[in-house]
Each structure stands twice: as structure tokens, then as C-alpha cells.
């Protein structure tokens, strides 16, 4: 089809929940009362929350209509850089919904929870094998939580070495969660700039690394989609000064079965199961951010840990040096079930193939678009490539305009204005589940948009044209916040 993938169709408006319904309705089947009412001391009781009252059909239509205002991976191509918006397999939902998992209480005595414990034990083993690290904690609830866990591990390690440190090195390409997580541990981020090639040089690291510095946080592959090729020298430098190396593994999707993280000197790394391991993002979560560590950090891992004794699994708290607990129970078990299912569905060859194809897709898009859009670093990339609006600036067209216009073509925009080191960044991560035809359509759209930028920039300033709402006033939203109805 030559015409745009994006078009318009009938969509239903829908009021806010409390503008709907009528007192006296209920969309829930209230259980039968088989015990007497027993009154509670009246000065304790209140009037209950002021919730709207809807019928079941009100409820179904409300959320069905809202859902149609959203764009998901199930809708179309979603090349959101750094977010790995790959296809979320439906069988994983089936597995997570099994009563034996979904209805299991987290504090069941281990003998009654062998299935859940076995799954966690084996998943941790799989992740250790995939990254090459020695031990894994599944407790962190998301990537940033994994980063915090990693920082706490490094903090605990240095304390065990007898001397705490105050700083941590963080490249300018790092995701915002990196400095924020470090700060939670009281570490002062020491920013370093990546080299002209878009990767860190040993020199800049050597220049700042000292005995006051706890270590470094590197993202590898980094947020420019490049492999940190000096990583070996860098980790040597950091280790030489008694520091540790944290790797933000959010981009692991590029290198499964290709890089041994321990071998390149990583001490601790977090994974995003909701990226690399295909669990759905759910409009912003829940995710899961396991940390994988070098054996020197294993004693500090969160508790409880699943231990296998013979053929039975138990939970152990017997790790006196542990940093403690990161969340109430075992972490996001429901997400672990999905990731476990994904790993078993692909197997080792499939996982490696996924990484290879993710990298192939990114390089394909890069090659096809680099003539039209300025490419920050013209060299082979990993899972994503970073373009910018430099070539379009002459027409007064910005990255934001390009992103909004892509919606009219039926695509979710890439990540924009990140990483910060590339002005007007357009960060494209296709992932391996996009087919060549889908990428070719995306490339066509980008090229048509470039033409429009030259011929009719207003068309882009006014975009999007087809979505249910157009550009929103974010300024007054922040100035006079209205956060509840």
C-alpha cells in the first residue's frame, strides 16, 4: 500500500469515571453474607471513599474506549530507543495467570511453594548464564531499583573493605536513573564525557578514578547504541584503584550470547526483564530489574535467597553481610514467570539470534536514514542508532515536530532528546521482532517527513493531525497542576 499506515476512524469519547454512573449501581458481584454483621466501634468508622458507582457494562465500555486512545506494540511499530519495545508473547500471559502462580501467597511455607521457588531458582541461573556473572538477585522491581541495589552492594562492599568512598564516575551518556540511584546511596556523581567516537576513553576514566571513588557506572552497549570498546582498559583502571564497575544492562538485548559481562570486568549489572526478556511494559510498568554480580559481591545480595538442597528449594536469610530487603516479598514474581517462559521458548540459540537480528535491524535503519537525517556517530551500531534534527534545523523543524508527525504515519515515535549528548536526538531501537517490511515502511515515513520538512514545515509544526487529541499544553499543566478530579 502506498498510502499512509495511519488513518482516522470512529473513536468514542468517554467522560471521567466520576462523571459516569449513578449512585446505587454496582459493577461487582458482592459475595453472599453467611455471617452476622458485627458493628465496629463507631468512632473508628468513616463514610467510606467517594467512588463512582457503575454497572458492569459501564465499566467495560469505559476501559474499552480508553484503550482505543492508546498505541501499543500490539498496535504497531514502536521504535522507542533504550526501551526495547519488542513483541510481548501471549503465551507468557497464560503462564503468569496459572492459579499455582497467580494465587500463591508469598509467605507460604517453602514445602508448599516448591514450584514458585524452583522457577525463581532456575531463572536466576539462566540470567547468570546469559550475562556470565556468578550470582543473581531477582528482588529489584525495575531497572532503577536494580541500580539502587547495585549501588548498595558496592557501598556494602567498600564498607567491608574498611573504607567507604564518596564518589562514583558516571558518563554524560548515562540514563537519568544512574545518577539518581547513585545519589540515593550518598555517592556524588563525577560526570565524564564520552569521546569523539561516542565511547569512553581509558584516559578520561584514568584522569578521575581515585581511592575516593567507589567505582564507575557504565551502560554497555551505551545509550548511543555503541559498544564501549575500551571497556577492558576502563575496568582495569577502576579495579586497580580498588573501585568496582557497575554496568547498566538495559541494553543487554544487543549482546545476549555475545558478551560475557564478567569477562570484560563487570562487577555488578542490572537487567530489565521488561526490555530484553519481552515482558510487557503495561503503560509504564510493572517491570523487573534483577542484578547479576561477580562472586565478590555475592555475600551482600538481598535476602531471602532461594537455595536448592538436593531436589528441594528453601528460602535462606543466612547471609549476615546482606544489604537486606529491597521490597516486601520476592520482587515482581509475575514478571519473572513471563521472562522465564520467554527464555525457555527461545533457548540459547534463539536468544543469540534475537540479539543478532536486533542489531541487524538497527544497522539497517541507520544505513537507510543516515543520508537524510544527521547521524551522531557514523559507525556500526548495536541495538539502536541515534539520529538528530540537525539537517532539518534549517527549515525550523525540530525533533519534536518529526516525532509528532510520525504518529500521523501510524508509528510510535522514537525516544527523543535522549541521550543528552546529542542535541535533538532521535534514538531508534527497532528490536528484532520488527520485520523488514515494517522497517521499510518506517524508513519511507521518515523520508517523507524529511521532504515535508523542506516543503511544508507547518504541516510538521501542527502534527499530529490524526490522533484523538493534538499537542497538549504541558506548560500550564505543570504551572497549575490539576492532579485529581
Amino acid at each position: 500500500m502506498t498510502d499512509s499506515l495511519g488513518t482516522t476512524g470512529l473513536i468514542l469519547n468517554e467522560p471521567l469515571l466520576w462523571e459516569k454512573g449513578r449512585k446505587g449501581r454496582c459493577g461487582f458481584s458482592l459475595p453472599r453474607r453467611d455471617v452476622p454483621v458485627s458493628a465496629l466501634d463507631p468512632h473508628l468508622t468513616g463514610t467510606g471513599p467517594d467512588f463512582p458507582e457503575l454497572s458492569e457494562v459501564d465499566l467495560i465500555r469505559h476501559y474499552t474506549r480508553l484503550s482505543t486512545w492508546n498505541f501499543g506494540v500490539d498496535t504497531g511499530t514502536y521504535p522507542l530507543g533504550s526501551c526495547t519495545m519488542k513483541y510481548n508473547p501471549k503465551t507468557n500471559e497464560r503462564q503468569a495467570g496459572l492459579p499455582g502462580f497467580a494465587a500463591a501467597h508469598p509467605l507460604l511455607p517453602p514445602e508448599l511453594a516448591q514450584g514458585a521457588l524452583a522457577l525463581m531458582h532456575d531463572l536466576a541461573g539462566f540470567l547468570a548464564e546469559i550475562t556470565g556473572m556468578d550470582a543473581v538477585s531477582l528482588q529489584p522491581a525495575a531497572g532503577a531499583h536494580g541500580e539502587l541495589t547495585g549501588m548498595l552492594l558496592i557501598y556494602a562492599y567498600h564498607r567491608s573493605q574498611g573504607a567507604q568512598r564518596s564518589k562514583i564516575i558516571i558518563p554524560d551518556t548515562a540514563h537519568g536513573t544512574n545518577p539518581a540511584s547513585a545519589a540515593l546511596c550518598g555517592y556524588r556523581p563525577v560526570p565524564i564525557t564520552s569521546g569523539a567516537q561516542g565511547v569512553l576513553t581509558a584516559e578520561v576514566v584514568a584522569a578521575v578514578m581515585d581511592e575516593e571513588t567507589a567505582g564507575i557506572m557504565v551502560t554497555n552497549p551505551n545509550t548511543l547504541g555503541l559498544f564501549e570498546e575500551n571497556i577492558r582498559q576502563i575496568t582495569d583502571i577502576v579495579h586497580a584503584k580498588g573501585g568496582l564497575v557497575y554496568c547498566d544492562g538495559a541494553n543487554m538485548n544487543a549482546v545476549m550470547g555475545i558478551i560475557d559481562m564478567k569477562a570484560i570486568g563487570i562487577d555488578v549489572l542490572h537487567l530489565n526483564l521488561h526490555k530484553t526478556f519481552s515482558t510487557p511494559h503495561g503503560g509504564g510498568g510493572p517491570g523487573s530489574g534483577p542484578v547479576c554480580v561477580h562472586k565478590r559481591l555475592e555475600p551482600f545480595l538481598p535476602v531471602p535467597r532461594v537455595i536448592k538442597q538436593g531436589s528441594t528449594y528453601t528460602l535462606s536469610e543466612e547471609f549476615p553481610q546482606s544489604i537486606g530487603k529491597l521490597d516486601t516479598f520476592h520482587g515482581h514474581f509475575g514478571i519473572m514467570v513471563r521472562a522465564y517462559s520467554y527464555i525457555l521458548s527461545l533457548g540459547p540459540a534463539g536468544l543469540k539470534k534475537a540479539s543478532q537480528l536486533a542489531v541487524l535491524n538497527a544497522n539497517y535503519v541507520k544505513e537507510k536514514l543516515k543520508e537524510t537525517f544527521h547521524l551522531a556517530h557514523d559507525r556500526p551500531c548495536m541495538h539502536e542508532c541515534v539520529l538528530s534534527d540537525k539537517n532539518q534545523a534549517g527549515h525550523g523543524v525540530t525533533t519534536l515536530d518529526i516525532a509528532k508527525r510520525l504518529m500521523d504515519y501510524g508509528f510510535h515515535p522514537p525516544t527523543i532528546y535522549f541521550p543528552l549528548v546529542v542535541p535533538g536526538a532521535i534514538m531508534i531501537e527497532p528490536t528484532e521482532t520488527e520485520s523488514k517490511e515494517d522497517l521499510d515502511r518506517f524508513i519511507d515515513a521518515m523520508q517523507q517527513i524529511a521532504r515535508e520538512a523542506a516543503e511544508n514545515p507547518q504541516l510538521l509544526h501542527d502534527a499530529p493531525h490524526k490522533s484523538k487529541v493534538r499537542r497538549l499544553d504541558e506548560v500550564s499543566a505543570a504551572r497549575k497542576p490539576c492532579l485529581a478530579g
Binding site: L30, G100, G285, T328, Q356, K436, L483
Partner: protein, 443 residues
């Protein structure tokens, strides 16, 4: 593999376009000394059907009702989940979308989360509620750090009757910060001893959970007054928000910050996660709130719409100066809670809460009559502690053989309650099952 669309021809064409000879060659820029992996030692790929069998077998090795009756709450509650909710929550547009950074094509998630924030605020009695946190424990930790930011003081007091796991997570978060945590002991009636607040210096906040870990309903107003008397903020936490269908909301009792675990609002227990971290406060503190917020605004044509707002608090703008490091939160869990609260509605929510209370009272009274009273006199909601003078272990084991889990033995958490167990009864427990439990305990 059915998730990988590339045909051999596709791969050949694309490699040619990229100018590389093979898939391996795509990684040529990686220095040799970064030693590409040998094959990973993982199980060979399973078919969808082998996976189903494997997972069915694994899941069968975890005890759930109806096979086993589990009278355990302790932060994870068994409530009925409507099929209608499951249906809308499976919509691909909700499940497979990312954080709504592009509002024009994310209005579904944005309006739904705005609605969640509103209902959550009404439930907690706060002017504002965040879009979600990981769970009740991290919400509490973030709430206390927030109080420290607001008051610029360095000490928090936390009740010993706050969920022990929540307290451990707070301790983990606080460890590197140098801030310190004072524990408020409990009274014989099962509630927090607020007099212990006396003379605590530099107090940023006092945190009390209600219903507390023992199921006892705390005097939040008194706690709020106690904290405020010391120019400290009062943080009220919870693990069973259904209680607010019956009890006064923490906000209405003077809590400055309210936080807790929202799992019982329509989320499956799922072996403990994902849950829902809920957090709200007075509007005055909004710029100190951790986590994401959705706000109402208009598009350029004047149509109502919603956006992520006040992002200057967040890590992607403020980096190390952010109010939190959180990025991905538990959005779909918040959506689930909103669907659940809307399904029940005001009256339904109260009625369900009353039923939970009444069923728990039925068991509590029955056990007391059977000679196993609760050590605590304070009123409770759907959880309570019961003492087995002969020791918990024996009874617990005997009931386990009858496929009954007699709650959570407290010895591990409270040595002083080594002969006690924490029982929970929700609407899912039928009277005849409760009668049977009483009979079994008696025998």
C-alpha cells in the same frame, strides 16, 4: 522461531544493505579481547505446548485454594477478582504500551492513571496521589525520605507494628544515608506506644500503620497529633486498603503523607509481586513527591487531555537531584486498582469491607470461645493475632496435614509472640470453612 520475522532472504538483503557479510560480522567492532561468548548453557527451546506442560507441572507444585485453605494475610490478601476486570485489563493497548511520554497517542493510559490518582486520593484521604510505586515497602521508604527532604531533619520514628518487611526495606534504603530510625514499641493492646515519641530530637516523621501488622486499628489522630507536636510530619501506612471502606481515611485523621500496599485492590497475590505502591500527600508537598504524576490539561484545540507533569522532580530531568530514582513504576497495577475500585463503587466497597471485618470477627470470636483468645484487645479489621498457649508449631503442623495454613507464625518476627500466629479472613472464606478451622483447632 515465531517471534522472529526474518526470513533468510530478509537477512541476506539487509546484511547487503548494511554492507556486512554475516550476522556475526555485525559485531566486528567489538574488540577481540571482549571475547565473544561461547554457547550459553541453557535448556534447548521448548515448543509452546512443551512450555504449557512444563509450567502446568511447576504451578501444580505450589499450594493454592481450593486445594489448600490459606488463612494468611500479612501484606498479601486473597480477594475475589472479577472476570470483567480481567477482560479489560488484557487489552493490548494497555498492556503493551510504554510509559506515556507521547501523550497524543497515550490518552487511554493517561486518563486511566489520572482517574486512579483521583480514586487513590479519595481512598487515602489525600489531596494528591502519585501514579504508583513498586510496592508498599518502597512507598514507605520514599515517604520517609520525602519527609526528611521537607523537614530537613534527619530522624524518623517507625512503629514496631509496621509490617516487619516494610521496616526492613526502609532500613535498607536508609543504611547509606546516615539518617536514623527510631522504633516505637507496642502497647499490650497491640497498638503503638505513642508516648515513645517523647523526647525524640530532630524528628522528621513518625510512621504508623493502620490496620497494623497485628491487624489492630491504630489511633491515627493521636499519632498525627503526637508527630505534629514535635514539628514532625505524620506518615500513615497500610497493607490492607480495603479497611478504608469501613474506617476513617488516614488523611482525614491528620496524616501528612499516606502510603501503603494496594495489592488487595484487585491484584492477584502472584507470590508477592507485582503489587502496588500507593503514596499520597497534601498538595503543599506536591513538588517533593517522588514518582510520576499525571495532570489534566488541554490540547491546542481546547480539548481536555492528560499529560505526565511536574517532571522536574524526576530523574530524567533532574538526575541526581531528583526526588526519586524511580522510572518504570507499576502502572498496570494502578490501572487494575482503578478498575477494581470503580467496579465496587462507594457502596460496594463499604459492603465488602464490612463483610471482611465480620468474617474475621466470626473466626476471632469462635477461636476465643474455643479457648484461643487474641493477646490483643484492640479492634481489628480482617486480620488478628491468636495465641496458642501450647505453642504454635504443633497446631500449625496438624492443620497443615489437613491442608489448612493457619496464618503466619509470629515467632520469627516478634520473639515475644512466639506462641502466636497472625490469621486473616477475607470474603473468600466461607462460614463452613471457618467452622471447620475452629473445629480442627479445638480437636
Amino acid at each position: 522461531m515465531r517471534y522472529l520475522p526474518h526470513t533468510p532472504e530478509d537477512i541476506a538483503d539487509m546484511l547487503a544493505e548494511v554492507g556486512v557479510g554475516s550476522l556475526e560480522a555485525l559485531f566486528a567492532t567489538i574488540p577481540k579481547d571482549c571475547c565473544c561468548r561461547l554457547d550459553m548453557q541453557l535448556p534447548a527451546a521448548l515448543t509452546e505446548w512443551e512450555l504449557n506442560d512444563h509450567m502446568d507441572a511447576l504451578a501444580a507444585r505450589t499450594a493454592v485454594s481450593p486445594a489448600v485453605k490459606v488463612y494468611m494475610g500479612a501484606g498479601s490478601y486473597d480477594h475475589f477478582l472479577p472476570a470483567a476486570a480481567r477482560h479489560v485489563l488484557a487489552r493490548g493497548e494497555f498492556v503493551t504500551s510504554y510509559t506515556p511520554y507521547q501523550p497524543e497517542i497515550s490518552q487511554g493510559t493517561l486518563q486511566a492513571i489520572y482517574e486512579y490518582q483521583t480514586l487513590a486520593g479519595r481512598l487515602m484521604g489525600t489531596e494528591v496521589a502519585t501514579a504508583s510505586h513498586y510496592d508498599g515497602s518502597t512507598a514507605l521508604a520514599e515517604a520517609l525520605l520525602m519527609a526528611i527532604r521537607i523537614t530537613r531533619k534527619k530522624r524518623v520514628a517507625v512503629s514496631a507494628a509496621v509490617h516487619p518487611h516494610h521496616r526492613r526495606v526502609v532500613a535498607t534504603y536508609f543504611d547509606p544515608t546516615g539518617y536514623d530510625i527510631v522504633e516505637l514499641p507496642c502497647l499490650p493492646d497491640g497498638r503503638t506506644d505513642l508516648t515513645a515519641l517523647d523526647g525524640i530530637e530532630e524528628l522528621a516523621a513518625a510512621a504508623v500503620q493502620s490496620p497494623n501488622f497485628f491487624g489492630c486499628i491504630e489511633d491515627l489522630q493521636a499519632a498525627a497529633d503526637g508527630a505534629h507536636a514535635r514539628q514532625a510530619l505524620f506518615v500513615a501506612s497500610f497493607t490492607e486498603p480495603l479497611a478504608f471502606g469501613l474506617l476513617k481515611s488516614p488523611g482525614s485523621l491528620g496524616a501528612d503523607i499516606v502510603c501503603g500496599e494496594g495489592q488487595s485492590l484487585g491484584l492477584p497475590r502472584s507470590f508477592g509481586g507485582p503489587g502496588l505502591g500507593m503514596l499520597g500527600s497534601r498538595m503543599a508537598f506536591v513538588r517533593n513527591l517522588p514518582g510520576r504524576l499525571v495532570g489534566r490539561t488541554q490540547d491546542q484545540d481546547g480539548r481536555q487531555g492528560f499529560v505526565l507533569t511536574l517532571a522536574t522532580r524526576e530523574q530524567h530531568i533532574r538526575r541526581e537531584k531528583a526526588t526519586s530514582n524511580i522510572c518504570t513504576n507499576n502502572s498496570l497495577c494502578a490501572l487494575t486498582a482503578a478498575v477494581y475500585m470503580a467496579a465496587l463503587g462507594a457502596a460496594g466497597f463499604c459492603e465488602l469491607a464490612q463483610l471482611n471485618h465480620d468474617k474475621a470477627e466470626y473466626l476471632k470470636t469462635g477461636l476465643a470461645q474455643a479457648g484461643f483468645p487474641s493477646p490483643f484487645s484492640s479492634p481489628t479489621f480482617n486480620e488478628f493475632v491468636v495465641r496458642f498457649p501450647g505453642g504454635v508449631e504443633k497446631v500449625y503442623r496438624r492443620l497443615l496435614d489437613k491442608r489448612i495454613v493457619a496464618g503466619l507464625p509470629l515467632a520469627k518476627y516478634y520473639p515475644g509472640l512466639s506462641d502466636c500466629t497472625l490469621l486473616c479472613v477475607t470474603e473468600t472464606a466461607a462460614k463452613h470453612d471457618l467452622d471447620n478451622l475452629i473445629k480442627e483447632v479445638r480437636s
